[in-house]
Symmetry: C2
Amino acid sequence: MPEETPARPAELALRPVTPALASYLAGSRLAGAGELAFSDGMPDTRLIPYAVLARAYRHAMVASVRHNQLGYGEPAGTPGLRKAIADMLRMERGLNVHPEQVCVVRGSQMGIYLAARLLAGPSSCVVFESLSYPPAREAFRSCGATVLSVAQDEHGLLPDALEALCRTYPVRAVYVTPHHQFPTTVMLPADRRLRLLALAEQYDFAIVEDDYDHEFHYLRSPVPPLASMDRNGRVLHIGSLSKVLAPGLRLGYVVAAERVVERCAAEILLIDRQGNQLTELAVGELMASGELHRHIRRALKIYQARRDFTAACLAERLGGRAQFDLPAGGIALWLRFAPWVDMERLVEDCAGQGLRISNGQIFTQDPEPVQALRLGFGHLTERELDSGIQRLAAALKRQEAG
Amino acid sequence: MPEETPARPAELALRPVTPALASYLAGSRLAGAGELAFSDGMPDTRLIPYAVLARAYRHAMVASVRHNQLGYGEPAGTPGLRKAIADMLRMERGLNVHPEQVCVVRGSQMGIYLAARLLAGPSSCVVFESLSYPPAREAFRSCGATVLSVAQDEHGLLPDALEALCRTYPVRAVYVTPHHQFPTTVMLPADRRLRLLALAEQYDFAIVEDDYDHEFHYLRSPVPPLASMDRNGRVLHIGSLSKVLAPGLRLGYVVAAERVVERCAAEILLIDRQGNQLTELAVGELMASGELHRHIRRALKIYQARRDFTAACLAERLGGRAQFDLPAGGIALWLRFAPWVDMERLVEDCAGQGLRISNGQIFTQDPEPVQALRLGFGHLTERELDSGIQRLAAALKRQEAG
């Protein structure tokens, strides 16, 4: 009798990736060599103030030796950086917070993830606008929440639609990007902000305010964040230093009531224990010395010029084939196409020309077609923008021709 | 009619901290000024090679400018560091891995957390030795797993007891620290390792091998990790650069089958997107150049001398009041006390003398009393060790006297 081949052992069963995350991942991989990509709103890493950053790291290293600071530290962040962030938020966003209300995290994604860990659970519902940020939606879903979609219009979230959801479902949190709605870039009007806060009180939910690129705003007096109007500790305000300094440094923060920050710190102990102290010391110095502020002002001018160039270029080359509203802030715009445009074909056609764009469909979990794309202009020079828009225009014209 | 005072709005309901985590946190806070603490096995941050590290950071900054590397990168880590880690594991641990099997994470805690995210679920059971590492247990519990205790003896985990659990419960993963059992420091014998791997196959569970201080081993030929004997991709091997370089840099790694590493990367996208690229570049250089290896050899000699000093000092000052086995590796030892010692009183009494020790009870979730403590000696000089052991001896003598 021939020996039986032993059965191939079963592979380890792992929790699967959700289809929504998989499609977002596929749509947002980094640009390859020689490829242009409009991204979903990346900063230009060529603007990173390397010399200034290198000096701050040198100082941080010296301070680490002197104060023996590269051991285990506080999960909520180094005291200097927490204070620098609180100071910045007080001066520039009208947020009256003290350092104990600031938790340093690894980029805004970790702030979102912590919010999901604290607020979501197997029987909870979390609301996102129909068009929103997929990694945030998936973070909440991965922590057990049921993710609901609320309708939005050209000004953002519709409070009446949200209230209807709250009447039916146990809504525990609402995720919003009121400063520059992701992906549509619009600013949530004051009356809807007040209504949102009132609903949070009435239906006992938390507001996760992702203020991911607050600093890049082109109006003279930007609207203060929702958190500045929060009287009852219902808002978890999330910010990032990735966009204003360097994504590769992984620095962000959660601002919330002290007890929420303490809970964040306890979660951090389970997730990654604490942040990179050297980086926290270095960036704390850049903030305290005003260097970061100066860098942001320089970058802001460049981004504003790129926004204006992009707008002019789109108007000239695309004509009536696409519409957009000039965003008041941020480093991306939302380009809407007529119903005759086949978005999937457009994405493929552009890829063939070495231009990567993402189908706006990746931003929603709803079945309705999204005839739009998010066009990040911040990371490209005018020459690159022009070249990319030319390719997009050519692809559109080919489609129009049949 | 007087106006009604509005009811104070309910506070946001947050997921609570588990009691086990709370007690571990309380027991393991950092030493205050003027306080001595035996810790649970911290490295000596005074040994960090600051000059070498500073130079590597300078080089990393230059490389970042040249290759524009501080933007968004790969969630599984920078290619250079993944390769450096794979090379090190091949040469020093007999792990035949390629870079695609390495996922860079923020300290070993994040490796544990990722394992918990991938393996644990609401109806799964995860097994820990009765005495184990509480943040690991809590990470799995926080991801929904039921945590079971398996009995251990003076050589570590008892395979028969594990098999009995596997027959009764749906065991999905077993967490072990076979190189230096945490907290008891013993090495898991070869026959139990083989048995553990066979059980993993038979009962279809994963082995999470936390090799947290592999490098600090004082035998000429350290035993290779479980992962080196793993034929079927059942072991998730977790390592750390915190202990050998600097905890404050937050670098660790997960080594596993490629599909497991890919799933880790997808989780990372939800949790913190990616690591700190500057740090990864800098440490990748330290590894490739051999600087890290040289530093580890220097530190190892110091730690071995401290281990021997601690052993001699304990034998001399404590006499028969406590027993220990000289650990073959690691930077802590497990000090066992006679039944007459009141551990809580001992902890309090030492605290009164400016010496922080942790009651061994914090390492278990079982009700049986733990008449022992983990004495971390690596972070203290001989003078500090002597002073701490004197205080411990005095507290014991006071208790003995009544």
